[in-house]
Each structure stands twice: as structure tokens, then as C-alpha cells.
């Protein structure tokens, strides 16, 4: 599952409640303004539905969520139903797909996997499919029909990549650049800049790694979306560092480290002293007790070797 983004588009009424809820959280108690309403731009995980086969969706969701249960639990998602127009006959709009998709059952299924669908993105709000979805609606664009993407995967919409020339690379660059403002505290400006990258003709934009130059304390959780996480200092017991790419820790790793949480099996964890409670690469994890004693307390590299977690001294 990759990220997409929703924009606080003036016409997207559905975004207003989301925006206010974030403002409430951000305003600290000392200078409370009561309420404040303004447009904002927030990144959300987007769940794109390409198929009307509910059993298949169910199985794929179960598989995704199982890779990082703690991460996906109670994660808000934008339900992207725009691809279903692509499979339907252009003349009949969404009606054909809508007839085959039980929207209520779909939403129930997503909730069962402890994801929280917030809004549904559809091509046409007045279409039958849209009418059957019991969620607030936003109008999104379908990716160009010429994009042949036969593997129905969980991918994202690229709302800012309307530019035709960019569509070719939109799939990758927007996915890579879009990112999440919830947990890692990235600023809205940075997010906006990242998103604007989706409109440019760039095949692949390597995101700047997330760099933390202080110890990660017990109870703190850091997530580097779509990038590497570098910690200069220790990761304390009870702390959790998570990244879609590699994790580098210049200090002792005493908490949990999970790399490749979005499924990238070629990611690795590096640390100067392996004392971790848990290490995980793309969902394959090991607890400290199962780490050989001669590797503990020493610099180590943790990688995936044929679906098996290998821990090697550095």
C-alpha cells in the first residue's frame, strides 16, 4: 500500500471536517482559538480499488495489514474508487462496475481490517456507484485509461498530476513524493513541495532521508515514509522506529526497528549496537531472544535473505 494525497480543495466539502480535526489537535492548549476554519492540505494513505471481487480485496487487505499490524491499525484511508470507471464501458459510465460492487460490504470489509475509510474518491458524484457509498465523496480523476496496469494493486491517486505530460510518470513519482503529515511531523510546506513534484517530468525522485539527531526515547514512534530513516543517537527501549526504506542507527538500538514496512524486501537495518527488542524487515521479524548472543551488543546489519531474516556483524 502506498500513499496518495487529498487536497483541501475548496470544492471538496468532505475535506472540511478533516481539516478542522487536525487544527484542533495542533493548537495547543495555551493559545486555543476555539475553532478556526481554513483550507489545508494533508496527506493520507489512499486505498485504490481496482476490482469488484470482494473476496480478493479481503484477502489482499489481510495480507497487507498482517505485514505491519500496529502500523495499519486505525489508519485513516481515502477510498479511491476512480479506477472502476476505467474497467467500465465509457458510455455507461460507472453503472456497470457499480452494479457489481457492493459498496456497503466493501466498506465493512475495510473496517474489519481496522482501517478507517474517511472519504471516497469517485469520478462523478452523481453516478450510481457514488450514490451507494455511505461515505463523504470527493471527485477525483481517474488515471489515464491508456495506462495499462493489469495488476490490481493498492496504489494511489495523484491528484496534482493532472498534467498530461506527467501522467506517464505520475504513477511512480507521485507515489514516491506524496507523503504523510500525521506521524512524522513534516510541515505542510514540505508536503506541498513534495506533492508539486508529482507534476514534473521526473521518473523517480529520491526523497531526502528523515534525519533525527537526538536519541529516540521510550514511547516515541518515528515513521519515515517512502524514505530512509537515520538516527544519530540511541533508540531507547520501548521506542519504535519505522521506515519504508532502510534504517540507520548511529548508536545502540534498544527498542524496535521495522524497515520496509510497505513491503520492500530489499531494505535493511544498520545499527552500532544490536540490543533491539524486535527487528523486522518487510514484515519478517525477530525478537531479541532469538538473536544469537554473540551478535548482541555489536554493530550489525539486518536484511532479508530468501524470506529469512539474516543478522550479520558489520
Amino acid at each position: 500500500m502506498r500513499t496518495g494525497a487529498t487536497t483541501g480543495h475548496p470544492s471538496a466539502a468532505a475535506c472540511v471536517p478533516l481539516a478542522t480535526s487536525f487544527i484542533e489537535r495542533e493548537s495547543n492548549v495555551a493559545n486555543e482559538k476555539g475553532i478556526e476554519m481554513k483550507g489545508g492540505m494533508y496527506a493520507f494513505m489512499s486505498l485504490r480499488i481496482d476490482t469488484t471481487d470482494l473476496d480478493r480485496i479481503d484477502a489482499m487487505l489481510a495480507d497487507k495489514v498482517q505485514q505491519a499490524p500496529a502500523f495499519f491499525k486505525d489508519t485513516p484511508v481515502v477510498l479511491d474508487l476512480t479506477p472502476l470507471t476505467r474497467t467500465a464501458d465509457p458510455d455507461s459510465d460507472e453503472s456497470e462496475a457499480a452494479a457489481r460492487l457492493d459498496a456497503m460490504a466493501l466498506i465493512a470489509c475495510i473496517r474489519r481490517h481496522q482501517l478507517i475509510p474517511l472519504v471516497a474518491s469517485v469520478v462523478d458524484k452523481s453516478s450510481p456507484l457514488a450514490a451507494s457509498v455511505a461515505l463523504p465523496l470527493i471527485e477525483g480523476r481517474s488515471r489515464r485509461d491508456s495506462v495499462t496496469d493489469d495488476t490490481p494493486d493498492f496504489s494511489s491517486t495523484a491528484p496534482l498530476s493532472a498534467d498530461r505530460s506527467a501522467d506517464r510518470s505520475a504513477d511512480r513519482s507521485a507515489d514516491r513524493s506524496a507523503h504523510w503529515s500525521g506521524s512524522d511531523g513534516q510541515s505542510a510546506e514540505e508536503l506541498a513541495m513534495d506533492l508539486s513534484g508529482g507534476g514534473a517530468e521526473i521518473e523517480y525522485v529520491a526523497r531526502t532521508p528523515m534525519l533525527i539527531d537526538r536519541p529516540v526515547r521510550s514511547g516515541q514512534q518515528l515513521y519515515a515514509r517512502d524514505t530512509d530513516l537515520i538516527v544519530i543517537g540511541q533508540v531507547g527501549p520501548g521506542a519504535e522506529v519505522i521506515a519504508d526504506n532502510n534504517i540507520h542507527i548511529y548508536g545502540p538500538l534498544r527498542g524496535r526497528a521495522l524497515c520496509g514496512v510497505s513491503g520492500n524486501t530489499s531494505t535493511r537495518i544498520f545499527c552500532q549496537s544490536l540490543e533491539a527488542e524486535l527487528v523486522s524487515v518487510a514484515g519478517n521479524y525477530r525478537m531479541l531472544e532469538t538473536i544469537p548472543a554473540d551478535l548482541r551488543g555489536k554493530p550489525a546489519k539486518i536484511a532479508l535473505d530468501n524470506d529469512r531474516l539474516s543478522i550479520e556483524p558489520l
Binding site: A30, R217, S218, Q220, Q234, G236, P237, G238, A239
Partner: protein, 269 residues
């Protein structure tokens, strides 16, 4: 410039109130106008340690709710002229505190030209503890030499980084100090307690002081006299050293080694 210091730990019973009382007293003895605030609303203790429990009329909650003036609420210490105590309410709970209310109190204290405001935090990481650390410029993290205390201190350091006013306003981070209390070198040697090196390694913050385990701490508490005033005791001397370091002096750490008993002590116990 008023400096606000929070004494915090996460875990209970590690010596926050004892430390708050001694640090405030130590600063006042150096000539700084100091106030020590008890944030443990509902479990008021600081007044006992400071020996002013019979003189409590108004409390922090009254002041926060603007039911009393600063002048009425502050209790002047009997021993030191420039030391004041702001007691907690015993009949209310932590919900009686609000950031706005505390902000008003802090503003009044700054206007009254206090040099130091020492905030004695309640245990835990809930509202009371967060209120106590919100306005902090510096933090004294009190830790006992055992794993659960160290982990809780690690947690509270994380909260200082994310929930203090300085972090929320993107100002320079809160200056962190580690104070190890109830340190018993003999038990460290036996492996029953974590050593200073272990704790410093685990928490990775500068060491302000090591307070040895001492019966004089309990005796002083019972007598309502901050232990720093007991200049004979090792704990009192260790707090005095910590004050020096807090004020920027470099001093070697003491009381880390097992004390060899002298001949007379061995004979007479």
C-alpha cells in the same frame, strides 16, 4: 531573567519532592529569589518537606482560579528570606489545573522578579506531570539506579521533547539534567543496582549529580527541613554540589565509591 526548572521522573517515589525542596533551598541560599511550586494537586507533600504545612492558607488551585492573590498564596520560608513555597491543593485533583491558569501564575511570578521557579512534578505522564513540565526551561530528571526508573525517565525525556512549551513553539529545547538519587555504591558493586555509567549510557543526558542513599534524607523529611541544609550528611553535600553544577561550575562527582570505614568507625560502628 526568570528560569523555570521542572523536577520530574515519570516514576513515583524516586525523590522528586526531596530534590525540589533541596534544589530550591540551595538556589535561595546562593542569593537567588526562588519559588518552589507543588504540582501534585491532591497529594500535597512539598509543604511537609519544607516544614510549612501549618501555614498553608491558599494554594495553587486558588491562585490558578484567581481566588487569591500571589502575595496571599506564597508562603515565605522561615529559614531563608528569598525562598517561597507555592503549595498544592489537597482537596482538589489535577483537572483543576489549566495551562492558561498556570501561564497566568508564571507571568505573575516573572513580574515579581523571581530568579528561579522550581516545579515539583507529580509522578506519571498524565495531565499533572505535563502541566508541571510545560513551561520548563530546564529539567532535572530524577532517577533511581534501577531499570524501571530509568525507563520511565527515558519516557519523560521523550515527553519533554514533544510536549513542553519550548518544543511546541520550536524554541531551543529544554536543557536536561540527570540526577541519580538513592545511589548505594555497595549495592552497585554487588550488582543489585545499576551503576552511574549504566544509567548515563541508557539515558544519554548530562549528569547533574549523584545523591547517595542516606538515612539523613528521611530524617530531614520528617523534620520538615530540606536535606541540603544538613551539611554534615553526604546527601546534603551532594545536593550542594548539584547546585554548583546547575549554576555552571565544573565539580567532580563524589559518593560513587564504596566508603572504607575508618578504624574508629569499625570499632564503634
Amino acid at each position: 531573567m526568570t528560569k523555570t526548572i521542572v523536577v520530574t521522573s515519570g516514576k513515583g517515589g524516586v525523590g522528586k519532592t526531596t530534590t525540589s525542596a533541596s534544589i530550591a533551598t540551595g538556589l535561595a541560599r546562593r542569593g537567588f529569589k526562588t519559588v518552589v511550586i507543588d504540582f501534585d494537586v491532591g497529594l500535597r507533600n512539598l509543604d511537609l518537606i519544607m516544614g510549612c504545612e501549618r501555614r498553608v492558607v491558599y494554594d495553587l488551585v486558588n491562585l490558578v482560579n484567581q481566588e487569591s492573590s500571589l502575595h496571599q498564596t506564597l508562603i515565605k520560608d522561615k529559614r531563608l528570606d528569598n525562598l517561597y513555597i507555592l503549595p498544592a491543593s489537597q482537596t482538589r485533583d489535577k483537572d483543576a489545573l489549566t495551562i492558561e491558569g498556570i501561564a497566568r501564575v508564571m507571568h505573575k511570578l516573572r513580574k515579581a522578579e523571581f530568579d528561579y521557579i522550581v516545579c515539583d512534578s507529580p509522578a506519571g505522564i498524565e495531565k499533572g506531570a505535563k502541566m508541571a513540565l510545560y513551561f520548563a526551561d530546564e529539567a532535572i530528571v530524577t532517577t533511581n539506579p534501577e531499570v524501571s526508573s530509568v525507563r520511565d525517565s527515558d519516557r519523560i525525556l521523550g515527553i519533554l521533547q514533544s510536549e513542553s512549551k519550548r518544543s511546541k513553539m520550536n524554541e531551543e529545547p529544554v536543557k536536561e539534567h540527570l540526577l541519580i538519587t538513592r545511589y548505594n555504591p555497595a549495592r552497585v558493586k554487588d550488582g543489585q543496582m545499576l551503576s552511574v555509567d549504566d544509567i548515563v549510557d541508557l539515558l544519554a543526558i548530562p549528569l547533574l549529580g549523584i545523591i547517595p542513599e542516606s538515612s539523613s534524607v528521611l530524617e530531614s523529611s520528617n523534620a520538615g527541613k530540606p536535606v541540603i541544609l544538613d551539611e554534615e550528611s553526604e546527601a546534603g553535600q551532594a545536593y550542594a554540589d548539584a547546585i554548583d553544577r546547575l549554576l555552571g561550575e565544573a565539580k567532580p562527582h563524589r559518593f560513587m565509591e564504596v566508603q572504607k570505614k575508618g578504624l574508629l568507625k569499625r570499632i564503634f560502628g
